[in-house]
C-alpha cells in the first residue's frame, strides 16, 4: 500500500476517531457517575446539533465562538432532564443501584426528542449557513486534511483535558468522583448525591453540545442524526472502558482508524463488521474495556 495513502487515511482516521470519542465522552461521563446507560445520548447529540445550528444561524457567530451559548444551554438542558426525569426513578427504586427503568425512560426520551425535532424542524437536511469552515482543507501535496475535522479533534482533546483537570483537581470534581466510586459513602461525607447527579448529567449533555458544534460545519443536521453516532458511541464506550475519559478517546480513534484504513482492503461496508467483531471480542476477553476501572460492585 502506498505510504502516502496510508498517511492520508491515518490522519483522517485519527481526526474522525477523536470526534467519535468526543461524542462518546458524554455517554461515558454520565455512566461513570450514575451507573446507568443514557439511551437518549444520540438524541442529546441531535439537540446539541440543532442548538449549534440555531446559535450560529441566529447570532451569526462561527460555531466555535458560539460554544459560549451552546455549552450553558446544553448544560441546563441535561441538568433539568436528570432532575425532573431520572432522579424520580432513583428515588422510587431506592434499593436498586442501577435502576433498569432508566433505560426505558431514556429510550422514551430518545423517541420523544427525535419526533419532536421532526415535528418542529421537519425532516430537512440542514447545512450550516454561514459556514466559514465549509470546504476548508489543508493541502500538503497528495495529502489533504479537513480543517473542520482538525478543529474538532483539537476541541476533543481540549474538552477531555478540561474534564480531566476538573475531575482531578477541583473540589466539585472530587465530589463527582467520590459519588461515582461509592454514592452512599459520598453522601455520608456530606456530598449531595442529587446535585452531583444533576451536574454530571449536565456536563455529559454539554459535551454532546460541544460535539454538535464540532459536527455541524461538515455534517448535516436532521432529526435522526443521532442514531448512527449513538450506536458508534456504545461500541466506543465499551471498547475504551465504561466511565473512562481517555478510554473513550482511544476507543474512538481505534474505530476511526478501522473505518479509514479498512476500505483499502475491502468494501467499506465490511469495516462495520470488523468494528462489531472487535466489540464482541472485547466483551468476551476484557468486559471492563481497555481502560475500564475495576467495577465496585
Amino acid at each position: 500500500m502506498d505510504p502516502v495513502f496510508l498517511a492520508q487515511d491515518c490522519i483522517n482516521g485519527v481526526l474522525m476517531g477523536l470526534i467519535y470519542g468526543l461524542v462518546a465522552l458524554g455517554l461515558t461521563l454520565i455512566f461513570g457517575v450514575l451507573k446507568v446507560i443514557n439511551f437518549a445520548h444520540g438524541s442529546f447529540l441531535m439537540v446539541g446539533m440543532y442548538v449549534a445550528y440555531w446559535a450560529v444561524t441566529l447570532s451569526g457567530l462561527s460555531p466555535y465562538p458560539a460554544l459560549v451559548i451552546i455549552v450553558p444551554a446544553m448544560f441546563l438542558f441535561g441538568y433539568w432532564v436528570q432532575h425532573l426525569l431520572i432522579r424520580p426513578i432513583f428515588i422510587a427504586e431506592k434499593n436498586v443501584r442501577e435502576p433498569i427503568t432508566v433505560i426505558i425512560v431514556t429510550t422514551g426520551l430518545w423517541y420523544v426528542l427525535d419526533n419532536l425535532a421532526l415535528l418542529v424542524f421537519g425532516p430537512d437536511y440542514r447545512a450550516l449557513n454561514p459556514n466559514p469552515l465549509k470546504g476548508q482543507m489543508l493541502e500538503m501535496g497528495e495529502i489533504i486534511v479537513s480543517v473542520p475535522k482538525l478543529y474538532g479533534a483539537l476541541a476533543t482533546l481540549a474538552t477531555a483535558g478540561g474534564l480531566h483537570l476538573f475531575l482531578q483537581h477541583t473540589r466539585l470534581g472530587r465530589a463527582v468522583r467520590a459519588t461515582s466510586l461509592d454514592r452512599e459513602a459520598a453522601s455520608l461525607m456530606g456530598i449531595g448525591q442529587w446535585k452531583i447527579f444533576n451536574i454530571a448529567f449536565g456536563i455529559g449533555t454539554a459535551v454532546a453540545g460541544i460535539s454538535g458544534a464540532v459536527l455541524t460545519p461538515f455534517y448535516n443536521v436532521y432529526p435522526t442524526v443521532g442514531i448512527p453516532f449513538d450506536i458508534k458511541s456504545f461500541v466506543i464506550v465499551v471498547l475504551g472502558g465504561l466511565g473512562s475519559i481517555w478510554g473513550a478517546l482511544v476507543g474512538g480513534v481505534i474505530i476511526g482508524l478501522i473505518e479509514s484504513i479498512g476500505p483499502n482492503f475491502m468494501t467499506s461496508t465490511w469495516t462495520e463488521g470488523i468494528v462489531y467483531a472487535l466489540f464482541l471480542l472485547v466483551l468476551f476477553v476484557k468486559p471492563s474495556g481497555l481502560f475500564g476501572q475495576k467495577q465496585d460492585w
Binding site: N115, K134, G135, I144, S146, P223, F229, S260, P263, S268
Partner: protein, 409 residues
C-alpha cells in the same frame, strides 16, 4: 359502584358519537411510507403530494359513482424497515380494512408489502419504487406508476453515449458507488451488465451504508481510482455528504451522474451549494416540463409546503388521480372491481396529468408502460442553482448547452 356505571355510560357515549359522525361512506387508502429515519424527507414529500391530490379530488365532490364518497388517507411509518412495512400492511388490511394500499418508496419495503397485498387480494398502487422485480412476480394487484430501475440504468448509459457523440471526448473509466440497500445494489447489478457493451472499464465498484458517519474513506477510494464517470445511487443525507466531501478532496471526474433519490431531494441543492454545480441526475419530471397544469400544480405545492414538486412527488400526486379514476369506473368498493378498473386504466388527460408522457397505461404485469425518464444538470444561470433538463436532446431547455465534461476542480 353507581358512579363507575355513570362513568362508563359517559365513556360509551363519547366513543359512540364520533363513530356515528364518520358513518358517511369513504374509501380508505393505507399508505406505507418512510416518515422517519434516513428517508423521512422523501416520505414527507410523498405524503404531501398525496394530500394535495386528495384535497382536490374530495373538494371536487369525491368519487361520484360511489355517491360522492370521500377518499381517506391513512399513514403508517415504515421507518424504511421491511419488517415494519409488512406489519403495517397486515394491520391496514386486517384491522383498518383499507380498500387500497399505496407505497412504499423504499423498494425493500415495497417488495414484501406488495406480497402481503397480493395474498389478501387488495389492490396496491406503487407510485415510486424502482426495483424491477416488484412487478415481475406475476402479481395481479400491483400497479406501478414509476419507471423500473432497468429503464433508469439503460437511459443513464444511453445518455453517456449520446453526450460523447454530441460533445466529443471519450469516457474510458467508470466508478460505481451506491447505497447498499435493495435500490443501490439493484442499480449496480444492471450497470455491471450495461458497462460490458459501453467500452468503459470499471475501476471501482463500491457499496456504502447510507447511515455512514464519515464518507471520507469512500471518497479517498474514488480519488485513487480516478474514474472518468462517477455513477451514484444515494439517499438524501449521504448524497449531500458525498457531494461535499468529493468537492473538499478535489475529486474531479468528467461526469458525476446521480440516480434520483437523494440527488433529486429538494434540500440537496441548498445543502451542497456550489459543490452541486454541474452534477447530472436522472429524473422522471422537472419543474421546467412543458405540460398543461404542471406549473400551476408546482406553484400550489410550493405555496403549501415550501419546496418544488419532485419527480417522485409527481408520481404520488398522479397516482392519487389514477386511483380516483379507477374508483370512479369501478363504482364499487369490491377489491376485485377496483383491481379490474385499475388494470383497464388509460389516463390521458384531466386534472393531475402533469407527467412528461401522454398516458398512464398498465401492462400485464401492472407496470406503467409509458413511464419515461430524462436527465438534468445542476447549474447556475444567474438566478441561483437550478435543475436544467438536458437529455433527451428533444426535451433540452431552449438555449442551454450542457457543461460536459465537468471542469476540473
Amino acid at each position: 359502584m353507581k358512579r363507575s356505571h355513570l362513568l362508563s355510560a359517559v365513556l360509551t357515549l363519547c366513543l359512540a358519537v364520533p363513530a356515528l359522525a364518520f358513518a358517511a361512506p369513504s374509501v380508505k387508502v393505507g399508505n406505507i411510507l418512510p416518515l422517519s429515519g434516513p428517508s423521512a424527507s422523501v416520505g414527507l414529500q410523498a405524503k404531501q403530494a398525496r394530500e394535495m391530490a386528495i384535497e382536490e379530488i374530495n373538494g371536487a365532490g369525491g368519487i361520484k359513482s360511489l355517491g360522492g364518497a370521500k377518499i381517506e388517507l391513512l399513514y403508517a411509518d415504515s421507518k424504511s424497515d421491511p419488517n415494519v412495512g409488512v406489519t403495517e400492511a397486515e394491520r391496514f388490511i386486517n384491522t383498518e380494512k383499507v380498500h387500497l394500499l399505496a407505497g412504499a418508496w423504499n423498494s425493500g419495503v415495497t417488495y414484501p408489502t406488495t406480497a402481503v397485498a397480493e395474498r389478501y387480494g387488495i389492490p396496491y398502487i406503487v407510485p415510486v419504487s424502482v426495483r424491477d422485480t416488484i412487478t415481475e412476480r406475476g402479481f395481479k394487484n400491483v400497479f406501478r406508476i414509476a419507471a423500473k430501475d432497468s429503464w433508469w440504468t439503460r437511459d443513464q448509459f444511453t445518455f453517456l453515449k449520446d453526450m460523447q457523440q454530441e460533445f466529443g471526448g471519450t469516457l474510458s473509466t467508470v466508478a460505481f458507488v451506491y447505497e447498499n440497500g435493495d435500490w443501490g445494489t439493484g442499480f449496480a447489478a444492471q450497470w455491471k451488465e450495461l458497462v460490458k457493451s459501453s467500452g468503459m472499464q470499471v475501476v471501482l465498484d463500491e457499496p456504502y451504508s447510507s447511515s455512514a458517519t464519515d464518507l471520507t474513506p469512500l471518497v479517498n477510494k474514488i480519488r485513487r481510482a480516478k474514474p472518468d464517470v462517477l455513477l451514484l445511487v444515494s439517499n438524501a443525507a449521504d448524497a449531500i455528504l458525498l457531494t461535499n466531501t468529493l468537492a473538499d478532496y478535489k475529486v474531479s471526474p468528467k461526469v458525476i451522474l446521480g440516480s434520483g433519490g437523494g440527488h433529486a431531494d429538494p434540500t440537496f441543492i441548498s445543502a451542497c451549494g456550489a459543490n452541486a454545480r454541474y452534477v447530472f441526475d436522472i429524473v422522471e419530471w422537472e419543474t421546467d416540463v412543458n405540460k398543461p397544469g404542471a406549473r400551476e400544480a408546482n406553484e400550489k405545492y410550493r405555496a403549501k409546503y415550501g419546496t418544488n414538486l419532485t419527480g417522485e412527488a409527481v408520481d404520488a400526486y398522479v397516482a392519487m388521480y389514477v386511483m380516483a379514476d379507477a374508483l370512479e369506473r369501478a363504482g364499487s368498493l369490491d377489491p376485485a372491481a377496483i383491481r379490474k378498473a385499475l388494470a383497464e386504466t388509460d389516463y390521458k388527460s384531466g386534472p393531475g396529468m402533469i407527467v412528461t408522457y401522454d398516458a398512464i397505461k398498465f401492462d400485464e404485469s401492472g407496470q406503467n408502460r409509458n413511464a419515461a425518464l430524462s436527465i438534468v444538470q445542476i447549474n447556475d444561470l444567474g438566478k441561483g442553482l437550478e435543475r436544467i433538463t438536458v437529455w433527451p436532446k428533444a426535451a433540452r431547455r431552449a438555449g442551454y448547452t450542457p457543461v460536459f465534461p465537468m471542469p476540473a476542480k
